[in-house]
């Protein structure tokens, strides 16, 4: 049975049996090529659900709008980590949730109207092809590949001289429209009021200009330190293609190196900033 068929069957059963009010999955979009998020409320709608390599969205973000409502959700492995993140941060309740985990070989870059040919950069170094948490598993679990160097992009950036890095980021941030699409797409961004939109204290002014853009982008990434689960929705939705993953992945790499922590692998481990080791050597203040 194809993954699509398995998802449809699971969704139909869940909706028919009233186990959940809604199944969040994917359906085909208006370009006839790409997938888009879909909320099925009735068993009859289950047949609109699909799964293929264009299912790039991290649907876990939608759970934040459905707190306390029984929901089934289709998740890829990276999205499943988002669920653990939200559970860890007391944002959602596990017992209200039915997780349909999909074994994922990687998804492709979204290009409107044409089938994407290139696998996402993130997927090329992915080390998690089976969801870390699920109730129903769609597909056969695969043994995880050992990726020798999961951060070639970050290492490349680190290797550049400081002034080159500064020039690079100045140009990238100068493009920023501060539309906050990156924030809106991110399953880890759910502050009732974003620091960037606060009037008091005024951390970031409303000017869409380099100074403000730098503070916004730096702190957006830093607020996700030890929390980014690597779905790269932020970079995908950015209308001006800022390389946001280079920021998130740098922090991910350092968090792994310093604190041996990866966000969302389980729902219990204390995140890096909420714990410490007395004798740890972190290369600062020593």
């Amino acid at each position: 049975m194809s993954q699509t068929a398995q998802i449809r069957q699971a969704a139909r059963e869940l909706l028919q049996g009233k186990a959940v009010e809604c199944v969040i999955g994917y359906e085909r979009g208006t370009d006839g090529v790409n997938a888009r998020p879909f909320f099925a409320y009735e068993a009859a709608e289950a047949d609109r659900l699909i799964f293929d390599q264009t299912c790039t969205h991290d649907l876990a973000k939608y759970l934040l709008n459905r707190k306390g409502k029984s929901t089934a959700i289709v998740v890829k492995p990276c999205d499943s980590r988002a669920i653990n993140l939200l559970l860890n941060e007391s944002q959602i309740q596990r017992d209200k949730l039915h997780i349909i985990g999909v074994v994922c070989p990687g998804v492709v870059e979204r290009r409107w109207g044409t089938p994407g040919a290139k696998q996402l950069n993130a997927c090329q170094v992915c080390q998690q092809h089976t969801p870390v948490v699920y109730d129903t598993l769609v597909g056969q679990p695969v043994s995880e590949p050992a990726v020798a160097d999961p951060y070639p992009d970050v290492a490349g950036m680190e290797a550049k001289p400081a002034d080159e890095r500064r020039t690079f980021w100045e140009e990238q941030f100068s493009r920023c429209l501060r539309c906050y699409a990156c924030r809106q797409a991110c399953p880890g961004c759910y502050c009732p009021e974003c620091f960037a939109e606060r009037l008091d204290p005024l951390w970031v002014g409303i000017r869409i200009a380099p100074g403000e853009n730098e503070v916004w982008n730096t702190m957006r990434a830093f607020h996700l330190a030890g929390r980014c689960i690597g779905c790269y929705q932020c970079e995908q939705v950015c209308p001006v293609n800022i390389r946001l993953s280079l920021l998130n992945r740098k922090l991910e790499k350092d968090v792994l190196g310093m604190f041996h922590f990866q966000a969302g692998m389980d729902a219990e481990s204390p995140p890096p900033f909420s714990t410490y080791q007395k004798d740890e050597k972190l290369g600062i203040g020593e």
Binding site: S90, Q91, E193, R198, P201, H223, S274
Partner: protein, 665 residues
């Protein structure tokens, strides 16, 4: 709009000698919202303070900046000054022109002046965002909990009770008295230990202000200073102490015997027992592991094969008041307290790790505490010291010090403090009882540091004990005797001493369960599971958890006088606390804006004082809420909170950002 006054202090020439006060006053006067800027020879002098008070009234100032010395020096002084002028005392900010500027930049008047102006600008920006703060008053329960009924806990309980406050004394064992009750005599006076201890135990039992809970343990601690809520487990004793008169017939007639814990296994006790004759309360408990009826019950319950052991129930049959209660279960009592004293004491080091000494293998190798029981007139041998192997009197007795102490590899790093002295005591008493005994002491360093201790050591030497400097490397059995082998480091030769008995001067270790108790009380403990004082010198009986005090050997090795002193000291702290009608809390604590809280609850996990609770709002959201009585104002939650919901009064995000921003505006 705030009306800010800036008062710049010359501090004689301390500031004025380096900083151009005239320029600073002029610059301060032009800062936003500053309506008054003035200088003063000494702001902190009475005339100086009067000038400030007058200026507040004259210029209708709503905020004040004092540019003078370090706030660590005079912040409180000036808070009182502005309060006297009718302002909220927290509407004050200090700019540190002395310690942070004039004193350290005396080589550059220009630079120091520029810096002084900027420091004032920062303070002005910050003070504009100050809010009125009000200390809160919290009522308190004037009732103390003492955990541990050893000499330290007993002393603390009696002192508090005598100050007129109620005390609950909780002891894990069936009797109070602790380790001191096991000792024969005490150094350096050689008083009989139980003769000086038992009257105090009786005082505890009879004191109207003391409630004694034996066979009880603290399970859970909630709340904060003045308002603790403690769950105490009263373990099932299977004897109704309300009915029991302590007549003793049950423990005399009980047919089952077990090794006595109190006598370090050297003697026996019955299955229904009091640990020793002077126990308080003098009422027995049933040791269900050894009780024949309980063995029978377990046999039946576990459906074992064969014939069940007989149901004994002799105690029940003989009890004249029907106090035996087989149905008694563990009970949880929840009580309120205003303060807690921890006096959980120590346990003796287990010497089996030193395989070369053969403890447990050679019966004539015993510990110091076993020697105490042996020597005690009320002990299992009635004070007769004999070799466990054959019951004969020993002639040559070797003492080994530092067993488990001062040893990084197999023991504890610290010195246990009392061993040198109790070994000296044993040597003296042995010689007195048995003049033909020869004592040898292998020592590392003899530590005799309190009053009369050195003299006591001398007395041991005079009694004939031979002190050999070195550590024993092996004990072997030869012809029914022990041969103790080690280097005499002063001779530089190996020595071997044939002995009849070897006494290991075992050190002190934390009492079992210390870490769990410390966690429940939110008190820090070290790698040796010893409790950590708030300050080792200046706050030796306080902890970092307000309202929780420590006494006795749970903090580190202590002898009896020190344990008693610390018990009294902790009691004095409690009495001082209880002498207040209300507790006043510092208003410079954290708060959480519930509208902005996203409910990730990381703050509740990181707070070192467990001062953040959760609350479910009417809209269903779960948010963090600060318990202001527990909060100490570190601000860790503020930096942890991504939502910007947590804030710290007196050091708000707005205030700190204003300080930073003012440097570029």
């Amino acid at each position: 709009m705030a009306r800010i006054g800036v008062f710049i202090c010359h501090c004689g020439t301390n500031i004025a000698g380096t900083v151009d006060i005239g320029r600073v006053v002029e610059a301060a006067g032009q800062m936003p919202m500053v309506v008054h800027a003035a200088d003063n020879k000494y702001n902190c002098s009475e005339p100086g303070q009067a000038l400030i008070r007058d200026a507040i009234a004259e210029h209708r100032l709503s905020r004040v900046v004092i540019a003078a010395c370090s706030p660590r020096m005079h912040e409180n002084t000036f808070r009182k000054t502005v309060a006297a002028a009718g302002l909220n005392p927290y509407l004050l900010e200090m700019a540190n022109l002395r310690e942070h500027c004039s004193w350290v930049h005396s080589d550059g008047k220009e630079a120091a002046t520029t810096k002084a102006i900027e420091l004032i600008r920062m303070a002005v920006s910050k003070v504009a965002r100050h809010e009125k703060l009000f200390p809160k008053q919290v009522s308190l329960t004037k009732r103390a909990l003492v955990i541990g009924g050893g000499i330290s806990g007993i002393q603390a309980a009696l002192d508090i009770a005598n100050s007129g406050y109620k005390v609950v004394l909780v002891e894990r064992e069936p009797t109070i008295g602790g380790r001191m009750a096991q000792l024969d005599k005490t150094f350096p006076t050689l008083d009989c230990s139980s003769c000086i201890l038992t009257p105090k135990m009786v005082d505890v039992a009879q004191h109207a202000n003391i409630t004694l809970l034996t066979s009880a343990e603290v399970k859970e601690v909630k709340g904060f200073v003045g308002n603790f809520e403690v769950s105490i487990v009263q373990k099932a004793r299977k004897v109704d102490h309300a009915k029991c008169t302590g007549c003793g017939i049950c423990w005399q007639k009980c047919p089952e015997k077990a090794p006595s814990e109190f006598d370090m296994g050297l003697g026996k006790r019955s299955a229904i027992y009091i640990p020793f004759p002077q126990a308080v309360p003098p009422k027995p408990v049933i040791d269900t592991a050894n009780c024949r009826y309980h063995k029978h019950l377990r046999f039946v319950e576990e459906k074992r094969e064969g014939k069940p052991p007989p149901q004994c129930r002799v105690c029940e049959k003989l009890c004249p008041v029907g106090a035996i209660d087989w149905e008694q279960k563990d009970e949880v009592l929840t009580e309120k307290f205003g303060a807690i004293i921890v006096a959980t004491g120590y346990k003796a080091f287990e010497p089996a790790v030193y395989a070369e000494l053969g403890y447990g293998k050679h019966p004539d190798v015993i510990t110091g505490l076993e020697m105490e029981r042996m020597m005690s007139a009320s002990g299992p041998a009635g004070g007769d010291v004999t070799r466990p192997s054959n019951g004969e009197h020993p002639r040559d007795v070797v003492f080994l010090t530092c067993i488990g102490s001062r040893d990084e590899q197999r023991g504890r790093t610290y010195c246990s403090k009392v061993c040198c002295m109790y070994i000296a005591k044993h040597a003296i008493i042995l010689k007195e009882h048995y003049p033909d005994v020869q004592c040898y002491v292998f020592y590392m360093d003899v530590r005799a540091v309190s009053k009369d201790y050195e003299e006591f050591y001398k007395r041991a030497q005079e009694s004939g004990a031979i002190y050999i400097r070195g550590k024993v490397s092996g004990i072997r059995q030869e012809d029914g005797r022990l041969v103790v082998r080690g280097e005499d480091t002063l001779l530089g030769e190996m020595v071997e001493i044939p002995a009849d008995m070897v006494v290991l001067a075992v050190g002190m270790e934390h009492s079992p369960g210390s870490a769990e108790l410390a966690q429940a009380l939110k008190v820090s403990y070290d790698i040796n599971e010893l409790f950590i004082e708030a300050h080792p010198k200046l706050r030796p009986v306080e902890t970092m958890s307000d309202g929780v005090f420590v006494a006795g050997a749970c903090v580190g090795p202590r002898d009896i006088p020190e344990s008693v002193a610390s018990g009294s000291a902790a009691a004095a702290k409690v009495a001082a606390l209880f002498s207040q009608e209300f507790l006043t809390t510092d208003p410079m604590v954290a708060s959480v804006d519930q509208m902005k809280c996203g409910g990730c609850l990381l703050c509740t996990k990181v707070c070192p004082f467990k001062a953040i609770d959760t609350q479910v709002l009417r809209d269903g959201r779960t948010v963090a809420v600060v318990n202001e009585s527990l909060c100490k104002g570190c601000g860790l939650c503020v930096a942890t909170c991504r939502f910007g919901a947590a804030n710290l009064r007196g050091f708000t995000q707005q205030q700190l950002l204003a300080e930073v921003t003012s440097l570029w505006q």
